[in-house]
Symmetry: C2
Subunit: 103 residues, 2 copies
DNA sequence: GCTAACCGTAAGTGATGGCTTACGATAACG
DNA sequence: CGTTATCGTAAGCCATCACTTACGGTTAGC
């Protein structure tokens, strides 16, 4: 899969909109696509990318398919940013700040 | 500018490596490019993208130019994810979890 | 079983991204 | 000043992305 990281998956505005919709609860592909300006197959492809990035989870629902947010993927993203931030502060507190002027 | 959001800026592995290097403190373009498998102009373009995304800050340093992490941009990213996560939990706690089975 | 609903995938297309080399601008240095 | 170091930008190229339409597969309903 070309989407080797969660940031790439989050980079697309349509995919972020899909995630926003899933915040309210599980949705079928048709439901998700209904509110979007792109075709249903396009949404399927986006969901595939989000799934590869571990950001959503899917499950059969009769003839349909139910998608929902996947906590571990989201937590991993938050953890990466949190760690990054903590390390930046710890190693070089003044340089990471925006008000600093010396090196 | 094509980089309308910070996620797009973070999506590229080379750019993430650049940020990792800047975690240790300010660096010139040449210093950053020295440890990377791409050319110096490529690094300049990446820095331009990171700057547009508000993730780095630059400052003249004689003939060189000093780049450093920019706190507000990083915080904004963290805030987006934190808010997203909080809302997902608040609105539909069980659906966001990975162990849930009902809707 | 036939039909309809729902969905994933394949194929093709236009746009964008990341890279390179070449060039020009600016600042220190003698 | 002329030279060197450092950097940003322009132009071009190739890969990838996001999208469309077309198609096939699976499930429910009659």
């Amino acid at each position: 899969m070309a989407y080797d990281n969660a940031f790439a998956a989050m980079a697309d505005p349509t995919r972020r909109t899909v995630l926003e919709r899933l915040k309210a609860g599980p949705r079928t592909v048709g439901d998700i696509a209904a509110g979007l300006p792109v075709s249903r197959p396009a949404v399927s492809q986006h969901l595939k990318a989000l799934k590869a990035a571990d950001l959503v989870r899917d499950e059969p629902r009769g003839a349909a398919r139910l998608y929902r947010l996947h906590a571990p993927g989201l937590q991993a993203l938050r953890a990466y940013l949190d760690d990054f931030w903590d390390e930046a502060l710890a190693r070089f507190k003044d340089h990471a700040e925006s008000e600093d002027e010396r090196d």
